[in-house]
Symmetry: C2
Subunit: 323 residues, 2 copies
């Protein structure tokens, strides 16, 4: 009699810099995992080859013979089409209309499912993380960019064309800074790590922000959200003001989501949230000021529970259809 | 053998100024309807008595004996609790914690269902109006205030505490005008009929806006969104600018909803939308500029199809459970 569980699935979190792959049993327990550089520069075929290699690697790590894996599920930057598994366009990957699902299915000869990376991180937090057992949950990741995923009625909500949850592109300041999407004043353009670093660089260009510059080794190009956060926690008022501003707009974005969706929980993840109290304080303040009655008193605004594993765990959950 | 259909239901749209009541058969055909003043000034018991009287009236109008009506469904201003049928608070009705469902059930001795008025207008448009057959639809009414209702996955989405769809209170201008809710720059504070009239009055206070003032018979207190719209359609540039500004922010609000929910359709109703092209143009422009890829090309932004009957028809649909 075998002691092996009867199901094994693979979850893959495909990012612009790293491929994170995990093998899990039918209960979602991770038996093996690996992270490798994506090497996007070498093109889609190379990246897909690397995904397949990581899958082989975790299979061998777990001591499973080939053919034992039932489903492979991949979270990818989008926009993408879930049914066809085509990645329409991804600046991070440098991809344009790549039939990821088809190519992986040909290479792996197993069932492949594709979803948006932020959606799968939301699903990961819902199934294994901060949002376990919650009916209506919105996940927001504040990192280089700002993304999100919606769990409504206990399930991932994709919208009409798999494009729901673009929280990073809701307008929070109509005449604000230009955003990569072509609009102005998107949440991403004021609250992302990129926006925080940009504001600091702008100060330095005016001969201000010397404390921040020093922390970046005197090189404006090395200023990042982390540099600004460090300066802020060291008491630098210019840095504090940049962080508060980003936090304020993030709070406005969160408040908008609460007023629209009346969720049970908002889960905030991503590197910018790790700045800690200065960000959380701004968020709480705006949520308090800008949301209504029972929606405000009911909602929990909490930190993500899975850190960088949210995406891969969400991919596992999708493969196991745990939403 | 009777030719009567086997089911009759009553839908009630309870507003701050009017009670609109309709009797429908099992297919949602309206057999009788009536509109009476709410007379909120006389208190909740009086208003509930009037609702019951309108129900008797449409029953008699339709020639139905007492006891033939299966379900009464009421759309009420909120916030409210659907399960208990308690209206927590309504400035329009002057109500505070009124157990509407219980009181109506006692008076009518029939099944009573309560929902938010904007939710039922959304349901009305979805079942009988512009949004028939649409899977994900957002209804927005721009009138004295701004309200909304969400149809997600073909059904009304209520959120965690029946507070979803508060589109009027998403922030579109962080340091904008104060809103009735206590925050600043809510969509309602810049795009509602009330906001349009307020901006015109502000001009008049500065000695400007004379064309608008003339159309209000020289009395600033009589300036309404209609006065401003008339002046705008007569070519008055100050009025045009007020309307464009309201339209711009409405467009930003609509774009935010599209980015977040990726709906198939946005249905816009309410008096302000009747201003016509100057409002629609601003909305289209911002949606075009501020939404992403497939979400933008897929979504239809259309006028409501049922006018002032959306609420009562939604109440009928709820009573027939047609969502």
């Amino acid at each position: 009699m075998s002691l092996l569980p009867d199901r094994y699935v693979i979850g893959v979190d495909l990012g612009g810099t790293k491929i994170h792959t995990a093998l899990a049993d039918g209960d979602g327990n991770i038996l093996a995992e690996t992270r490798v550089p994506t090497e996007t520069i070498k093109g889609p075929s190379h990246v897909i080859g690397r995904i397949i290699a990581t899958i082989e690697q975790v299979r061998e790590q777990a001591g499973l013979p080939a053919g034992f894996v039932e489903t492979v599920s991949v979270g990818s930057p989008g926009p993408l089409d879930i049914a066809s598994g085509i990645i329409h366009f991804s600046p991070n990957l440098g991809w344009h209309e790549v039939p990821l699902k088809k190519l992986l299915q040909e290479g792996l000869r197993t069932k492949v499912m594709i979803d948006n990376d932020a959606n799968l991180a939301a699903l990961g937090e819902h199934v294994f993380g901060a949002g376990r057992g919650v009916n209506n949950m919105v996940y927001i990741t504040v990192s280089t960019g700002v993304g999100g995923g919606l769990i409504l009625g206990g399930r991932l909500y994709h919208g009409a064309t798999d494009g729901a949850g673009e929280i990073g592109h809701i307008t929070v300041l109509p005449d604000g800074p230009p955003c990569g999407c072509g609009a102005r004043g998107c949440l991403e353009s004021v609250s992302s790590g990129t926006a925080i670093a940009r504001e600091a660089r702008r100060l330095v260009e005016c001969g201000k922000g010397q404390n921040i510059l020093t922390r970046a080794g005197g090189d404006p190009d090395r200023i990042s959200a982390v540099t600004v956060a460090e300066a802020a926690s060291g008491g630098d008022q210019e840095a504090v003001s940049i962080i508060s501003n980003a936090a304020r707009f993030l709070g406005i974005g969160v408040a908008n989501v609460i007023n629209l969706l009346n969720p049970d929980m908002i889960v905030l993840g991503g590197g910018v949230m790790e700045i800690g109290e200065p960000i959380w304080q701004g968020v709480r303040q705006e949520v308090e000021a800008r949301t209504l009655g029972a929606a405000r008193t009911h909602v929990q605004v909490v930190p993500a529970g899975l850190g960088r594993r949210a995406g891969v765990l969400g991919a596992v959950a999708l493969a196991l259809q745990m939403d």
